[in-house]
Point group: D2
Chain length 415, copies 4
């Protein structure tokens, strides 16, 4: 008698294979689910393995298009970044995967969902908050937070022995001394030897991007066209032009990867209050985001930008990082992105070279906020310098009072 | 009979030489003032020229130490940046120069100060708001906003003719097709051919930094020690160690310059509401700021960082950019910087290579916010995974309601 | 030969009558414009007077509906308030009047608009920034900033003499020792004897509301229904029900006026940097806004509210106060209001009594964010108290580190 | 053999009496702790009862002075308020009580602390986060989150039976249909019949303040003197003058209480994500806070106020509400309060009348930010109206572009 159906996020690796077997052992029927979000993975091998272990069914869902169009591109529009540095590659993927998993769970009559996230990380939170929003009555089975499970599998050896006992094949390759998570936007490296924040990542850890010292000696130029803040066209040096969002994103990845652009190494603050060291490669997102920021300089009103920068970007980034995508406040903040981007239309010409992203120039046919004549220091057209005197005089009313008060109180102003 | 003494910010160039002569012609006595803020300049030639034109006195004030210690270092502590990109090199210098000029004006009995800033730029505002705060009764003479002056000197030829008529020597070197402003922290390039935002700056424009493509093929490693967010020690690869603030800053400059680090090219929003294109080289400040940001990851509490990032940094940057240094609000915001930096103590090891700044590792002997064991995905010490279940359950109360409401209203949540 | 047509905002009072005559004297043709925005005014007398002085035409535009629906109600939705106290009654009216005036100017072929605002106040800025946004090429004639005008009319006597010389009738009533501005939302009192911020306003100054000490001894109850944050129904104690927006607003005014609700007395900061004392009566807006705030407690998600409170409300209020309604940033911020109000549906029952607004209760048929069972301290339904232990444990990870560091450094935490 | 000493926050009521007995039953030795924070309570009866039940010791700590000076007054300086309405009366008391309890625990060798808070409220979080910060290794025993306890005592009858079985005397007075928490700053009412947010609180629920309809018909005037934002003197109508902080606070309470000032009724958002209805009386704090806000109008710079209002006040209020007093971020935000208050020196004259707080006037001998002449609409002294033209012209550069773009795109600006 089954205790009911569980939809397990299954990767084909050791952990989720053991979890699959353990769930079966507990009396559940298991639907194995795997999202294709652009990671390099052998989907067929995973399917074969899941079914061999005993899954009732194996479902792969291709979410790449949604991932790029509904999440990555808005993140570019909003210049999303966490703690000055992290481009949120993993965070962006979580709501997309969670939504697909809940859909599979519902289509297959599962009362519960399960995952292999550890009990200290961000991902468990990101997945589960999305699960609960999308299906408030869902049951979540998180083995790594279940004492029965984590006490039984205290070390890697316990997992290996259990796998062996269940005839679960284990890859012969030696486990790398860190863990990774990969999708179309990035790959992350953390844990293992990286847990010492003073350990420089070994050169062979990096996977997506070439090392800047090994990158070509010749820079490569390209241009990106934006409409309302969204990248709509990528033109490479040779003239190759890409407009399909997923293809554009993939080509931006390829371009940045071959020139070593997009590596990050930080100590960040997890949602649960622990500091954590992470290394990331986010090639395409890095160059598209930089290009977008540059174009905003030309086309976005100063005050709209200031409001967006101070309120929308950090709120959005924090919500994404903390797994709060499907929340009232994130719905609210997402509604603030497109109205900020109406004028962000134009082209950015740029260059990649040995880890650098360099702007070469930018232009816009439609937006006229930048006015060369007006901006020119040599021209008086359309602008009366005396006006600035009045502007300064009015600004100084308050400031003169400040200076006078300081003098009266014998507390002269100083640097 | 003199109309009184004026203290003129004098650079030795064509514009301020003409202004000097013009002020004399108007009947003022002129004290020429020049701040040494680290720019490459022939101070003796300027003195000789000023006196030759008719200045009563020429005063150079060395403000480099104050500039580094009182303004640049706090900017590093606050991670100051304007519109995501500009490190505020010019803005940082203005209050320091203004304070020195007012001091010279007061010491020499000047009722007025004068400068050669144009009527469309930020610098006139920055100087004058500082003047008015420091000496509320000062009179400001801004020739480029005085119709009598700017109508008389409508083009460069008018200036040259006037100079010739007054026997003012003019440098034979052909004027560059852009203007620059230099100090210890940076050099700016703007106007002229740069006014077209789609014009790529010519390779020979850049002055302080080597072109990344010409930079050494061998990376150079170094480390920076911070105390309470201030750089207190720079150690180069060969072991050379610098602790004096000005020397440290100069050495950071030299290091970044020889590896092509610190170039910026943006369209920014001037205080008076005009967009403007600027190119900047900010070598040392760039690497010290990046190192500081990195160390904050390891040593700064998440919430303190979030508050500082969202409220203090952008407020401070905007105040600096708009020339609001000597204002009640900037005094207030500056008071918020040190309390945020109590725990920012430690070392960042880093590398520069062909335009890149790369973190190699970071550590802190004194701050224990990062806990390798606790952070480790493999350890359960001091942390109960079940707690996270409660954490997620409580976080999800509100979110489940959101999901339920969406279901009830038949508006299913979607990406 | 006319120098062209000017559209003058004409009130019928002494100042704008003199300005009308003076504009004619300068050779302009004048279209007199008067907005009916709910002020108590003799429109016919004004028309007669304007035409008598020499206006080509007199145009009254009734903007009450737009004022209530497009500006006052969104201000209620956003809980708009400036410097904690001022409900922006005058600020709200300005863009509505400016838009009507520009429309009249365009329909009548006027190249310029003119107004009677003083050179120190907010209203000149509010009108003119709206004029320039709505018709960027408009010329603005502001006599009180024109030395020719303000030097000629240095005191009230100069105005009276000029009026007399032009046969302009002047009301016999003695001028009140303060000035007022009135519209459907409020009346303001400032200047004159009120300029001393320590002078208590005389009892007979207040015009719209009864003095609380003279208000009825019997409280009056009512209820307000909101949909998406907008008041859609007002039900009075006797059962009288009003749903038309303008009528609803007028009835709310009447209700608050007879119970002395909505008086304000503050020193505020004008846009141009001068402090200014103002007294205001804002009867209906006060009670509708309070009711709205109360309903948000029941129906609005905590985080949406926090974001709106911290970012949208103060930005919007500042923009309104500074006359920045027709700007990119205000368009942006206004777009943020409706998405915050989706769930603000329900009824607030309240009472007015001698200056007080008292909430009696609130309910919502459609929104279920408040859950009596869940909220109940006596019930365990749907909530596991142990979860809170996990929640607290995770929250305390960071805080324990803080406490430990304090102990290690012998700097014990203290209040 | 004792399992160790526990310091229990003991009120003398049924709940904590049962907890005391239950802790003893579990084998702990109990130190009963009671903070005197200004609540009306029979401390001697509580002591007698605690010892009778079996507490080893009963310790009362008088924290009223610390409460007023270190927490309430800074809250007045910061204008602290949660969700527009709630003055944080309970939140303010928690860190003071927690600190006293930890001190008692440490002095008496207790390894654990215990309290009678429910598992759904804010107070458990506020107490425990403070406990963990002040003594990171403390053990917290929260019986209402312990299944063994809450399953055993599922209803009030279970508590009564247990009390009877342990010879614990129970007050004969019938329990009120709500719960309260009282301190020097306020009393709260929640739960019971108040859980229906549409139930109007019965008139006899309110305890501290007279009903506005029963308040005196004669207003009562008074004045408050502030130094650096702190109330330093209260002068009543008859001339009675109070300067001691606790006495001043008590007298402000008495004044507001007899005129029915300071009642609040809201639905608020608890930290754990549940909405909750609360009624509060906060008499003295209400009038002191209003007076403080008023004085800031006269004496505080506009921009300092704006920064404080937008960033400091809401951050501080949220931290207080969520029990985050002893955290790095609250320490940081508290450091931002005094620098904002340097100029907040002066007197506010005010009136209370039947629930209303009415400002009569304000003045400052030392601060000159308000300048009557400058503010006057009738004076031109020290101010050139033409300057405002330049100010408006510069402000309109950006805005004209906005209007032009709208015209070009045939999307005319509209309200």
């Amino acid at each position: 008698m089954s205790k009911g159906k569980v939809c397990l996020a299954y990767s084909g690796g050791l952990d989720t294979s053991v979890i699959l077997a353990w769930l079966l052992e507990q009396g559940y029927e298991v639907i194995a689910f795997l999202a294709n979000i652009g990671q390099e993975e052998d989907f067929e091998a995973a399917e074969k393995k899941a079914l061999a272990i005993g899954a009732t069914k194996f479902v792969v869902v291709d979410v790449r298009k949604e991932f790029v169009e509904k999440v990555c591109f808005p993140a570019i529009q909003a210049n999303a970044v966490y703690e000055n540095v992290y481009l949120l590659g993993t965070s962006l993927a979580r709501p997309v995967i969670a939504q697909a998993q809940i859909k599979v769970a519902e289509e297959n009559g599962c009362f519960a969902v399960s995952h292999g996230c550890t009990g200290k990380g961000n991902d468990q939170v990101r997945f589960e908050l999305s699960f609960y929003a999308l299906k408030p009555d869902v049951v979540v089975i998180a083995p790594w937070r279940d004492p029965e499970f984590f006490n039984r599998f205290a070390g890697r050896n316990d997992l290996l022995e259990y796998a062996s006992s269940k005839d679960i094949p284990v890859a012969q390759t030696k486990a790398k001394p860190w863990s990774t998570d990969e999708n179309l936007a990035h790959i992350s490296f953390e844990a293992g030897i990286l847990e010492n924040p003073d350990t420089t990542p070994p050169k062979d850890m990096w996977k997506l991007t070439v090392d800047p010292t090994d990158a070509p000696n010749t820079p490569e130029d390209f241009s990106v066209v934006f409409e309302q803040g969204l990248p709509v066209k990528l033109v490479l040096a040779g003239g190759k032009t890409i407009t399909d969002p997923v293809d554009l994103f993939l080509e931006a990845n390829a371009l940045a990867r071959r020139h070593g652009v997009g590596r990050i190494d930080i100590v960040e603050n997890r949602f649960i209050g622990i500091k954590s060291r992470g290394c990331y490669e986010t090639p395409g997102l890095t160059i598209l985001r930089y290009a977008h920021i540059d174009l905003e300089g030309l086309t976005l009103d100063r005050e709209v930008r200031a409001i967006r920068d101070q309120f929308v970007t950090p709120s959005y980034a924090k919500q994404l990082y903390n797994g709060m995508y499907f929340t009232p406040e994130c719905e609210y903040v997402r509604a603030m992105i497109p109205p900020s981007q109406k004028t962000v239309n134009g082209v950015v010409r740029a260059r990649v070279y040995k880890g650098n992203f360099i702007v070469l120039g930018r232009s816009s046919d439609t937006e006229k906020l930048y006015d060369e004549t007006e901006s020119s220091m040599d021209e008086l057209t359309g602008f009366s310098p005396e006006d600035t005197s009045g502007f300064i005089a009015v600004q100084s009313i308050r400031i003169k009072k400040y200076g006078e008060a300081a003098r009266e109180k014998n507390q002269p102003l100083d640097l």
